[in-house]
Amino acid sequence: MVRDDEQVDSMEIDEKKQQQLEAPTAVPEGFNTDYLRVYYGKLFPYGDFFKWLCYGNDGKHPGCDQSYVGRREFSFTLENDIYLRFQSFDSATELESSIKEKCPFKIDIGPVYSVDPSKRHAYAQSGNNVFVPVERELIFDIDISDYDDVRYCCSGADVCLDCWPLMTIAIKILNTSLRDDFGFSHILWVYSGRRGVHCWVCDSRARKLSNEQRAAIADYFRVYKGGENALKKVSLAGPVLHPFLAQSYMDVLKTFFEDRLLLSQQLFSSEERCQKILDLILMKGLRRCVEEIVFSYTYPRLDMEVSKHMNHLLKAPFCIHPKTGRVCVPIDPSNCDDFDPAAVPTLSQLLGELNATGFQSDSDNSLERTSLGKSISFFRTSFLHPLLKACKEELESAYNAKLQQSKNSLNW
C-alpha cells in the first residue's frame, strides 16, 4: 500500500503493489485473532525460533543439556489482556501447538531458570532461593519516544523517516562496540514493531553474565543521565573523550548531526529551539560544547532497567505489534541505513500475499512466497547458523574436556 507522501521514482508505482491494491486477494488492514490464527498457522517460524533458543541442546550430542530449553520462561499476552507467565516447552511441537491454540497477541521471552518454571512452586517450599535465572541473553531496548525532547518532527508513538535514523545510529554504535570492545559475535537486532529496536546478544558468554555485569555494560553505554529536572543531561567529563565515545563521535554522530539532523529537525529554526541549545552550553571550551550538543541530540538512549536484570521479559522476534500490525523483523546492522519501518510487512499484507499465492502449498513454501521470507532467510544465514555452529563447537569441546578429565583421573 503506497502512502501519499511516500517517495516514488518518476511517478512509477511498484507493479506488485499496484496488483495488491487492486487484487481481490487483498486483505483489509487490521489486527485480530482471525488474522493471527492464519499467521501462527502458516507463517510463524517455529522451527527456527526453537532452534535458536536451544542453543545447540537439541539432544543429538551426548554433551547436550536435555533440560535446558524446558527451563526457559515464555509469557503470553492473550486477547483480553490476560497475561500468562512462566510458560515453558520441551519441544518445538509443544511450543507450536500452544501458540496455535492460545493465539497470543504478544509473546515475551524470559530467562532460562535453574528449574522448569512451571514447577517452580515445588522448589519454593525449601526456603532458599532455588528458583533463580541462570542464563539470559544480554538485551537492549531502544525506544524513540525517549528522544522526544530532541526531535521536533514527531512525538510519542510516532516515527518518521526524519527521526528513525536516530535508531540507525543507536544500532551502529552499539553493534560496533559490542563486537569490537566486548568481543561478542552473535547479535540479533529486531524492529520492535512500532517505534524502536531491540538487541539480543546471544553469545554464551553474554548469556552467563550476572546482573552486576549487565549493569556495568549498560553504564558503559550510558551518556544521557538525569530525570526531568536535571539541567544538563549530557555531561562529558574529562579533557578528552574515552576512545569508545570519541570513535562514536567521529565515525557516526558528527556526520549524522551535520549532514542530516541540523536540517531535518531544523534545530535553529526558532528562538525556542536555539535557546534549548544554548541551555546546553555552560562555561567550557567550544569543542566540548559542540560535542555535548551533538551527543545530546544523537547518542543512543538505552532503557537501563531492561538490560540490568536477568529476569526481565522482552518481546519475541517475529511477533506482531497489535497497534501497527507490523512484524517484529530482524534488522541487518550492516545495512541499517536502508531499513524503513514503514516498509516492514504488516499482518494484513502477509495474509493478502498468502491469498494471492493460493493455499494449496504446504507450510514450508508459504514463507518464501511472502515478504516474510526475506527476513527469515536473513535470520537463518546471518544469525542462526553461525550461532548454532559456535554452540556445537562449544558443546563438543566441553564434552571432550570432561572425557579427558575422567580419563586423567584414572591415570596412576
Binding site: F182, A216, Y220, G227, E228, L231, L245
Partner: protein, 451 residues
C-alpha cells in the same frame, strides 16, 4: 577459633594463621584463626569494628568522594582498631571480623550490608598499603593476570593514554597494565575507566584495587553463606547460653540518634496528604506530589518511590487506590487505571504475586537511583540541576543565607544531611513553618537511618 574465659591470649598465633600479607599488613580472612579469645574481647572487638563499619556506611550515604573515604577509613581504623603493638592490632582485626561474620550471616539483608561495608573497608585499606604489599596481596588472591608484554603494550599505548586523560589523569604515566576479561572489573567498565578490546579490559596497576576487591568480595560472600549454614545447623543451639545472645544483640546495635517510630502511629488518610505534604513531606516526595497533580501521571520510578513512602506513612490500600485513581483517571480514564496500574499498587501492599510486603526506600537507595527521561523520582539534592533545586527550595520557604549554605553542601555532595537541614531537624538553620518534629518527620527520619 576457641573462645575461653581464661586470660590466655595468643596474639602471635594471629599473625601465623588467618593470613596477613606481610608484616602487620592487611589480612584476607581466608581461614578462621587458630587462637583463643576471651569472651569479653569477643564482644568488645566486634563493637569496635562495627563502629568502623557504621562510620563507613555513613560516609557512603553522605556521598563522600574516594579521597575523602580513604581519609575517613584511615581515621576510623586508627580511632577504633589500632593498638600500639601491631600484633595486637592484627589479632583484634581478625577476631572482630570473624565474630561479625557470625552476627551478619543470618539474613540476606544483613549479609548484603556486611559484605558491602567489609568490601569498602578492604578497598580503602588496600589503597593505603605500599606497592610491594599490594603486589603480595595480588598473588595471595591468585590473580593469574600477567602484566602486558611490551609489544602488546606498544600496540595499544595511545588508546591507554587516551583513557587515562579522559578520566583526568596524566598520559603515559602508567607502564604496567594487565589484560583482564571485562567481566572481572564491572566497576571500571561501568565508569569507562578502562580501554576495552575484544572482551578484555586493560587495567592499570593503580586500578588493580578493583580486581583485588572483587575477589575479596567473592570470597567473603561465599564464606558468609557457609557461616550461615553452620550457624543454623549447630552453632546457634550449641552456644545458646553463651555466644548466641551476644551475637543477636550485636546485629541490632545502632550508633546514632534514636529515631524509632513512635507508638502512636503515623496513619495518614487521603484527605491529609496535601496538607501534610506542605508541612512534613521531604522535598523529593513533595515534588512528586506536585508533578502528579500537574500531569495526572508519574512514571514507574516515581510511583514506586512515592507510593511506598505513602504506604509507610500509613496510607491504607483503599485510600492509596483512590488517591492514584483520582489523578490517573484524569489522564487515561479509570478503566485503564484499574486495568494497568491498580495491580502494581496492590502488589506493593503485598496483595498480589509474591505477596512480599514492600518497605519504603531508604535515603541511600533514593540517592543512588538513576532517573531517566520523564522521571521525577530520586533525590532532588542529587538529581536536580541548580536552577530547579533553588526554585524547589524557594517554594518551600528556604531562602537567603540558608539557601546558599545548602547549595554549597550540594556541591560537596552531602545529600542526606541536606534533607535534615532543609526540614529543620538541625538547630543551625531557622527555617520558617518547618519547625517541630511531627510523626511524619520521625517516620522519614527513620528511613534515613535504614541501612
Amino acid at each position: 577459633m576457641e573462645i575461653v574465659r581464661s586470660h590466655r591470649q595468643v596474639a602471635a598465633a594471629a599473625a601465623a594463621a588467618g593470613g596477613g600479607g606481610g608484616a602487620g599488613a592487611l589480612p584476607t580472612y581466608k581461614a578462621a584463626p587458630q587462637l583463643e579469645v576471651r569472651l569479653e574481647e569477643f564482644e568488645l572487638f566486634a563493637i569496635d569494628r562495627l563502629r568502623v563499619l557504621k562510620g563507613i556506611s555513613d560516609g557512603l550515604s553522605r556521598g563522600k568522594r574516594p579521597e575523602e573515604m580513604e581519609k575517613l577509613v584511615s581515621e576510623l581504623w586508627k580511632t577504633h582498631m589500632r593498638h600500639q603493638d601491631p600484633a595486637e592490632t592484627l589479632n583484634k582485626d581478625i577476631v572482630s571480623h570473624f565474630v561479625l561474620r557470625l552476627v551478619y550471616c543470618r539474613t540476606e539483608e544483613l549479609r548484603k550490608w556486611f559484605l558491602s561495608m567489609e568490601t569498602t573497608l578492604f578497598r580503602y585499606r588496600f589503597r593505603l598499603e605500599s606497592p610491594e604489599s599490594q603486589r603480595m596481596l595480588m598473588t595471595e588472591f591468585q590473580l593469574p593476570y600477567k602484566a602486558l608484554p611490551h609489544s602488546e603494550f606498544e600496540a595499544v599505548k595511545d588508546k591507554l593514554s587516551q583513557v587515562a586523560r579522559s578520566i583526568g589523569q596524566s598520559a603515559n604515566v602508567e607502564h604496567v597494565f594487565f589484560k583482564v576479561p571485562f567481566e572481572e572489573v564491572p566497576d571500571l567498565v561501568a565508569s569507562r575507566r578502562v580501554f576495552l578490546s575484544k572482551g578484555y579490559a586493560y587495567v592499570a596497576m593503580s586500578q588493580v584495587v578493583s580486581l583485588v576487591v572483587t575477589q575479596f568480595r567473592c570470597n567473603i560472600s561465599k564464606a558468609l553463606a557457609l557461616t550461615n549454614r553452620k550457624w543454623t545447623a549447630t552453632i546457634k543451639e550449641q552456644e545458646k547460653d553463651r555466644l548466641t545472645p551476644i551475637v543477636e544483640a550485636l546485629s541490632n546495635a545502632y550508633f546514632g540518634p534514636d529515631y524509632s517510630q513512635p507508638k502512636d502511629a503515623v496513619d495518614i488518610s487521603l484527605k491529609d496528604i496535601d496538607q501534610l505534604a506542605k508541612s512534613s513531606f521531604p522535598l523529593c516526595m513533595r515534588h512528586m506530589l506536585d508533578k502528579l497533580r500537574e500531569n495526572h501521571h508519574l512514571k514507574h520510578g516515581g510511583r514506586m518511590q512515592f507510593g511506598l513512602f505513602l504506604k509507610g506513612a500509613g496510607l491504607k490500600l483503599e485510600d492509596a487506590l483512590a488517591f492514584w485513581r483520582a489523578e490517573f483517571s484524569q489522564k487515561i480514564g479509570s478503566e485503564r487505571f484499574d486495568k494497568e496500574y491498580a495491580y502494581t499498587i496492590r502488589h506493593n501492599y503485598g496483595k498480589e504475586g509474591k505477596r512480599t510486603d514492600y518497605t519504603p526506600y531508604s535515603c541511600q537507595k533514593i540517592i543512588s537511583a538513576t532517573p531517566g527521561v520523564g522521571d521525577h523520582h530520586g533525590c532532588p539534592f542529587r538529581h536536580f540541576g541548580e536552577e530547579n533545586l533553588r526554585a524547589a527550595l524557594n517554594k518551600m520557604g528556604v531562602g537567603g543565607h540558608a539557601l546558599e549554605e545548602i547549595m554549597d553542601k550540594v556541591k560537596n555532595r552531602h545529600y542526606q544531611v541536606l534533607y535534615f537541614i532543609a526540614i529543620g531537624l538541625t538547630e543551625q538553620y531557622d527555617i520558617p513553618e518547618l519547625t517541630g518534629l511531627s510523626g511524619i518527620m520521625k517516620y522519614t527520619a527513620s528511613l534515613h537511618i535504614n541501612l
